[in-house]
Symmetry: C2
Amino acid sequence: MVDTAQRPAPRSPQKSAAASATSETEKTAATPTTTAVDPSVNTGPIKIAGDPTAPRVDLEQLGRALLGTWADVRLAARKLTAQPELQRIEGQSMAEHRARVREQMQILADNGHVLRAFPTSLGGHDDHGGNIAGFEELVTADPSLQIKGGVQWGLFGAAVLHLGTQKHHDALLPDIMSLKVPGAFAMTEIGHGSDVASIGTTATYDPETEEFVIHTPFKAAWKEYLGNAANDGIAAVVFAQLITQGVNHGVHAFYTPIRDENGDFLPGIGGEDDGLKGGLNGIDNGRLHFTNVRIPRENLLNRYGDVAFDGTYTSSIGSPGRRFFTMLGTLVQGRVSLDGSAVAASALGLTIAITYAGQRRQFTAGSDTDEEVILDYQRHQRRLLPRLATTYAATFAHDEFLVKFDEVFSGKADTDDDRQDLETLAAALKPLSTWHALDTLQEAREACGGAGFIAANRLVGLRADLDVYATFEGDNNVLLQLVAKRLLTDYSKQFAKADAGALARYVVKTAADRAYNGTGLHRLTQNVVDLGSTARSVGALRETALQRELLTDRVESMIATAAGVLRPASKLPKKQAADLFNSQQNELIEAARAHGELLQWEAFTRAVDSTTDAGTKQVLTWLRDLFGLGLIEKHLSWYLINGRLSAQRAAAITAYIDRLIARIRPHAQDLVDAFGYTQDHLRAPISSGAEAERQAEARAYYRDQRASGTAPIDEKATKKHK
Amino acid sequence: MVDTAQRPAPRSPQKSAAASATSETEKTAATPTTTAVDPSVNTGPIKIAGDPTAPRVDLEQLGRALLGTWADVRLAARKLTAQPELQRIEGQSMAEHRARVREQMQILADNGHVLRAFPTSLGGHDDHGGNIAGFEELVTADPSLQIKGGVQWGLFGAAVLHLGTQKHHDALLPDIMSLKVPGAFAMTEIGHGSDVASIGTTATYDPETEEFVIHTPFKAAWKEYLGNAANDGIAAVVFAQLITQGVNHGVHAFYTPIRDENGDFLPGIGGEDDGLKGGLNGIDNGRLHFTNVRIPRENLLNRYGDVAFDGTYTSSIGSPGRRFFTMLGTLVQGRVSLDGSAVAASALGLTIAITYAGQRRQFTAGSDTDEEVILDYQRHQRRLLPRLATTYAATFAHDEFLVKFDEVFSGKADTDDDRQDLETLAAALKPLSTWHALDTLQEAREACGGAGFIAANRLVGLRADLDVYATFEGDNNVLLQLVAKRLLTDYSKQFAKADAGALARYVVKTAADRAYNGTGLHRLTQNVVDLGSTARSVGALRETALQRELLTDRVESMIATAAGVLRPASKLPKKQAADLFNSQQNELIEAARAHGELLQWEAFTRAVDSTTDAGTKQVLTWLRDLFGLGLIEKHLSWYLINGRLSAQRAAAITAYIDRLIARIRPHAQDLVDAFGYTQDHLRAPISSGAEAERQAEARAYYRDQRASGTAPIDEKATKKHK
């Protein structure tokens, strides 16, 4: 349920404007409006909201849709993040910030907010989806808190939960949950970021003492960038190559104490502080290395592989490759929560920038006396509204992703296929949403000019903190390549029994003929031919089926083309096969991105379909069309080169996007208010209403001056007079 | 002259590797190579450097070309910026950083490095171009130092120099130059960033006392974001509407003391500290406001407008509009230096990321044992090499811009047309280079993964500091709109005497016919038709004349189309005319960007033409082609929609870019080394050679293990065996 008492962020000056008495407009401006753009603030060339026949957004319904499946958890989390003691203080030194986040961690541990995923028997709720939904909201308080919490409970604790067995849960989880044992997740090595399978750290079993010997054989195998490693961690889950009886069984996880009760490293363990970072400086990231550190055999987290006292290795999963991916797959929640928190950060940034743009005025254009509201400039709309559409798409896609995650982790639907689909979804969506957040926060910052650069207005801090989301929990480019490989596999499965000729024919058909025979495109051509009307044929572009056809076709064709080029690879020597694959790498990653965009578009479309309020549905449809056609415009040259769109149709897309943006403009404030963040979450003076107040004061000054006849004459006017 | 002793940044481990003895490869790696990629470090799928017939870059010649017209000044400045006492210390608090930059300012004032633009009679050199060239290099020491120096000498001091007259120079400049009087440049108001003509602050002349009364009439007129305002400034050049005898003569500049000897504000003056910002925290930005502050009549900087004791206003420039733009035009050096320092920051970022990418290995692909150097991945090349090409283009364009600036300011060529051209050049190039720097530093950061996020590796700090370059000294979008207006004016001048029909015919011709009749495009069509050979016709794309034709045509056509749409505006009511212009705003800004890109391309082409060494010329030509064709690829849909390129030709461009990138790859290290920055400027551990050392150690470990037969057997191998 949406708690309306918490919303909306005031779009116009309230308390302070009411307390002042400089202008008669302020009385109007001080009246909070919740369903339309305040006309006293937003006068400009495009005004549809004033039209009584124009659609109106039902903020209640839309807000609920955006909150998604775990709305109650999110609202509870937002009550928590509205509390100042959990919020970031801009400008703290690294030491102060670390200390503050450490204290905040204890608040979270004590109130149980972050423990929903743990077993009910241990005080959790076995609620995987809800846990992530609540976690993501922490980003609005301080991304450092979100990520440090993620390290403790989502990585370190989750590794014990998912890779360990009952004995580990009982012995270790209570202290991890309560934060009595802060820990590091020691997977990444300085020499092996994304290629976890190749890490250098070894855990060699010694049957004499029934111990594993954890060892760092060279500097590139130092564990690196680990939260909790520089200071707070007293244990770690260390990932290492498990070697027993002379055989390397691949990467496994080992529970390893690292510091004593005084905070000093245990014998054989060393490390360094990563020091200052580009953001997230509330987290004590650091490096660890191990010199023949002995741990008991039982410290192997043995859910997917075990070593008997005599050194015999056993596993429920025969294939080492599948075992590795299964183990890593249990840790997918990191990517899920990054996707969700990146979307939340984008929503915050746009709420700040769009609210400000609806109040700020600059340059006179259509009037001698009144400056334009900057959101009425076409360029400003082009900068912010398509990003708003993408944020909506990413919000809806994230909720579906979270539902899928919950189904797999709750056991409701956790076949191998489900797990693989979840992995692919994570690898497709996390890159898109994290890059989108950086792009959006930067555009929002620039759209607010110098005010956007002031730390108090939060855009620069959020951007700095979210920067690393693009490369941690899987580098975005590497993740997209994983998606591409999955698409190639799916594609080749379709033709597993077909001969090479059939495949070649398919590729040709996909790359050329299909464009003119597919249902959607056929319809478009017909409109042009039969009706000869630009307006009517442009209208076809907003048909859901046609957008789907165009977006799907591009993914399929790109994959089919690459598959055709790569087909000889299986018969080539390794080096040549690698070179061939490398020649397609960029295109494959672009195909994976197109796939992710299609997933977002499909989720957005389902959200539109399930909207019942007519006005809301109309506005959401425009926004979905803006997203879909924006994707087609972005990749327009592909559609033209591959004969999917004629030059005339292509030109019509850009013109139609301009029209959509003009239609959406009057609803922009509603669309950001619907995210449901209050001033307690935004905490940006520029979107508090102060700007509208300042504008009102300045305009009143000039109006009074004109009315009183005391205004100085403009020199230009004196010249004209002469 | 290039000081070769200062170059190059070591591309492979030197001292530390030589001191170690873990690997036989290090002997090779420790040998510095200056003309080709070190084969021990850069093995990968694409190796042309090993081919004795492949072109080689003459680093000496290329380095000299990149240093540009004021090479000696730049080299002297780089000796200065190599000194630790002028460099940024990452992680300092805002207070510490401000204090450090304040001390560094005095070092600069004392050694005279920053005073070249001031009159020789006062100890300067009257050297405008050299002054900016030297200034820009400060960005490698600390952008805060560059910008705080820019505030003092380039804005505050330059306003006195260019807007004041001899009496002001003699009385004020010596103390400004020596830093005895630190000052603020009080132009921007919180309510009027880019629209300086509309500022609210007034300077009303009182003939009774022969004083100007400086006054802030409302909160939106507070002066904002002023460097030196929060703490250090004891005077300011205040921009205000000059009102005398009841007439407003527009914006003029007034020298105004603001603090007393104790650092307290003088009566009537107040202010606030802007506090923490997204970057540049070594500068004490703040706000100022004035309540009926009286200053002597002589404090008006009266070069372009003066007020006699009785209040009579006189000016050498009759038109208030032209007077305003002339006054602002004298302050263009801010934009010049931002352009140059943004280019320098891009060069630093790429040197770091490309050096690292040539040493770092990740994932095996073409071998069972050797991981690939990441710069050999196609995607990684696609991420970094086109940005390298753009940085070269921006470097050469900046030098031409600086020459133009010097000609205008030295009086060598300073007609009204020259000044307007300079303004347009500034408005076109500064947005492109500052956005490019942010994009490049971000991509460099991500390309270095987690290591890129560590502050010690400098990419995040540079990016944070340069962020605001996109919106200060003219918001980038506003500047591009100025360029577009200039292009529209130039365009309409061509048809000043033509009737509407002639114009319409021109537009039609431009938008359609010309594509098939222009020399370059005609030739392309011929190649396709006559020779029927894809290879030959693709080759035409690298012809200079064809690239120029395609790039020029786009700018002209976009402007012609917009001009056609806007033609009725002059006959419309103001509001409707404004709406019509607004409907074209986005497209006009894109046209301005295309114009700026063309200017960069032309400068790059001239630099290629003036290169004498054959190998260098070949590699530079590839890089110029990558830049030019990259622009065409970016805007490919425009070329397709407007019939300038066939679908086949368009597809060939992407394929040809792939080939160009593969050719440039072996020269990537040379191309960044040629920028000439040493480790003293880079100061990033990841590009120090440490990575190559670490890789060598790890590879030696595994090689020794394999040789000795002690390597554990891979589980997969045991399964295959069975």
